[in-house]
């Protein structure tokens, strides 16, 4: 029993088991074609399952009735236009030679090159870069060489780049396709329309590719060294960032939050009387703009309580180091860390100032990150440019860095 039996799948045994099957038929006698030793290994035991399909045996019986001969016969190839007659050996069954076309003729594929009339050319296909004669010639050669543009470019009488030839051929084909279609929608899905040939893109692609392929071994070695060095720098930076990542993340949140707040109207005299029942803990914005609901519940509280809570809410995402720096900045600016006259207006201003300082810190961090990023890429670029060859992957970087240098200088 095996898996196939359990699943009820019909058996089809590989040919290798056929040998085992033979002893089953005539267990008493050692069949021909099997050595005595191998037969002994089976122990003369009958296999549990029949190992040869019945249908297979039947087919063989039919085949036995066929009388196959091989004959040297003439044939013609429909793929040829010269109707040349050649001879080959043919398998003849029961004296009847096979009919029909030469079996390999179907592989003679040819491209359907569109044809245009003079009228169509005048109407849709004129191009200042191409004469009608040249275009005719191109289409003739396209047909003759089955769009093998490399060959066409080689044979073309005027010196044209492969991309130019392709561009002309595809644009003419596309224009004809569109003008002959009953509506634009009918041909919208056609590859010629859907993915039009772009000559400039193709030329840039080949240029970049050849730049990569024509690098010397040393250059390649140098590049991989630079890239691994870059990876190392990135990783070390990532590791050092991990230490203060919490702070960084926090400040980022702060900024987003304070940004939102600064975009709303500055608190009007009555703003902290707006209901805060909608202020969920996940919406610190509302929490900051109005008196915290927790205090309003008390019915009576001090203005400084409100400020303390709002300061806390505004800096709840900042690490203790950041909070300390904010307070240091406040005293550097000659502002009390806690306002001496905490009126409503003073508290609002004080809170805004703290948020702006947080924004400032975040921007400083961003500028710092950007500068160090730039320095690192500048080093990589310099190394590559000194090599006098710019590999594909850095062409893009170079452009961006040039833009950066221009903006900084």
């Amino acid at each position: 029993m095996d898996a196939k039996d359990i699943l009820g799948i019909p058996k089809s045994f590989p040919a290798s088991q056929e040998k085992k099957a033979r002893p089953q038929k005539e267990p008493q006698r050692k069949p021909d074609g099997i050595s005595r030793e191998v037969y002994a290994l089976t122990g003369g035991m009958a296999p549990l399952m029949p190992t040869i399909e019945v249908s297979h045996l039947k087919r063989k019986a039919v085949a036995d009735k066929e009388k196959i001969t091989w004959q040297w016969l003439p044939f013609t190839n429909s793929a040829r236009r010269d109707s040349l007659q050649l001879y080959h050996w043919v398998r003849v069954v029961n004296g009847v030679p096979p009919t029909g076309d030469y079996q390999f003729a179907k592989y003679n594929k040819s491209v359907d090159i569109v044809k245009y009339t003079d009228e169509e050319y005048e109407k849709y296909l004129t191009d200042p870069m191409w004469t009608k004669e040249e275009t005719d010639q191109l289409f003739d050669m396209c047909e003759r060489f089955d769009l093998r543009f490399i060959v066409i470019a080689d044979r073309f009488p005027s010196p044209r780049a492969v991309e130019e030839l392709k561009n002309r051929y595809y644009s003419v084909s596309r224009a004809l396709l569109i003008t002959r279609a009953p509506s634009a929608a009918d041909v919208a899905g056609h590859p010629l329309v859907k993915e039009p040939y772009s000559m400039t893109h193709e030329m840039e692609r080949k240029r970049a590719l050849s730049a990569v392929l024509s690098r010397t071994k040393q250059q390649e070695l140098r590049d991989s060294e630079i890239l691994s060095e870059a990876k190392r720098i990135m990783e070390s930076r990532k590791a050092s960032k991990g230490v203060e990542s919490a702070d960084l993340l926090d400040d980022h949140n702060d900024i987003e939050m304070t940004e939102k707040v600064t975009h709303t109207d500055s608190p009007s005299p009555s703003s902290n009387m707006q209901p805060t029942s909608t202020a969920a803990p996940s919406a610190p914005l509302t929490e900051c703009a109005t008196t915290p609901a927790s205090l309003r519940m008390l019915r009576v509280y001090l203005r400084t309580h409100v400020l303390d809570q709002m300061v806390q809410a505004a800096s709840s995402n900042a690490g203790p180091r950041t909070i300390k720096r904010v307070e240091q900045t406040l005293s550097d600016l000659g502002v009390h860390i806690k306002p001496k006259v905490p009126t409503k207006a003073v508290c609002a201003e004080h809170l805004e100032l703290r948020k702006e300082i947080l924004t400032l810190f975040n921007l400083q961090k961003q500028v710092h990150t950007q500068n160090s990023n730039f320095q690192y890429f500048a080093i990589v670029l310099l190394a590559i440019c000194l090599d006098k060859s710019v590999p594909l992957c850095t062409i893009f970087l170079q452009k961006k860095c040039n833009a950066y240098i221009r903006s900084v200088v």
């Binding site: 009387m273 008196t291 519940m297 600016l333 961003q366 903006s407």
Partner: protein, 252 residues
């Protein structure tokens, strides 16, 4: 977590008709000053009584606070005789002599129509001047005052009407659609009870708390910070095309 609870709390059923009507989304502020003034006794100073000091709560502009405050309880250091001092009428102050500095707890109790909850303030008694302000003198006291504002949220209508013309109160603009009955006749002043502290014997030592100065300072500081922010933003935006920042800028 806490916030959610609080929000749910605020959704309690509306007050019964028997309870005083409350003004939603209105808050009344009362600027107050609390602190201590302490005089060194000089030659008269003894080991345990080197200073005479007064702790007090006053209106920030010396207006009468008894319009809201019914009683002030000063909790002194337990070494004093009868350390819990209850003051039922203005001026709300306690004078003592002593030698040590400690924290005084000041509890404000309000009139029943104002608020049934108390408000606790804490003040650190200061007897000895900072070193940079020169040696102790009997002439110049050590004054430490704190400005703050007592805020009543959702005051009762009766309370609002009673104090809306009082000089000690900061009356907000009422939210639109809130109609109040016109103020009744002014409270008859039965006796000329002077609750304010305008002629207070220690009045010359009271500090002035100028909101304008504070706002000016804050505005200057904000301007400075904003200038920096603008500068950094410009620097960042100039190289915004540079796509290799580790963090995409969320600010632009």
């Amino acid at each position: 977590m806490l916030g959610i609870q609080k929000i749910q709390l605020s959704r309690k059923p509306p007050p019964l008709s028997g309870q005083p009507k409350r003004l939603k989304d209105v808050e009344l502020g009362f600027p107050i000053v609390y602190g201590t003034i302490s005089f060194w006794l000089g030659k008269k100073a003894s080991e345990y009584n080197s200073h005479k000091w007064t702790v007090y709560v006053r209106g920030a502009t010396n207006e009468d606070l008894s319009v809201i405050v019914k009683r002030v309880v000063f909790q002194l250091h337990p070494s004093f005789n009868n350390p819990t001092r209850i003051v039922e009428s203005p001026p709300f102050e306690v004078s003592e002599t002593g030698w040590g500095e400690f924290e005084i707890a000041i509890s404000l109790f309000f009139h029943s129509d104002v608020c049934d909850k108390q408000l606790d303030l804490y003040h650190q008694l200061k007897l000895y001047p900072e070193e940079e302000s020169g040696p102790q003198s009997t002439k110049k006291p050590v004054v430490v005052e704190t400005y703050d504002e007592v805020v009543f949220s959702e005051p009762s209508e009766a309370f609002f009407l009673r104090v809306q013309n009082h000089p000690a109160a900061i009356i907000p603009r009422l939210p639109a659609g809130l109609n109040l009955p016109p103020p009744g006749p002014p409270e008859p002043v039965l006796e000329k009870k002077r609750g304010d502290t305008k002629d207070h014997p220690l009045g010359q030592w009271f500090m002035n708390f100028s909101e304008a100065d504070e706002l000016l300072k804050l505005a200057a500081a904000r301007q400075q910070v904003q200038a920096h922010v603008v500068k950094l933003r410009r620097q960042l935006s100039m190289v915004d095309a540079f796509p290799l920042q580790s963090k995409p800028s969320s600010l632009q």
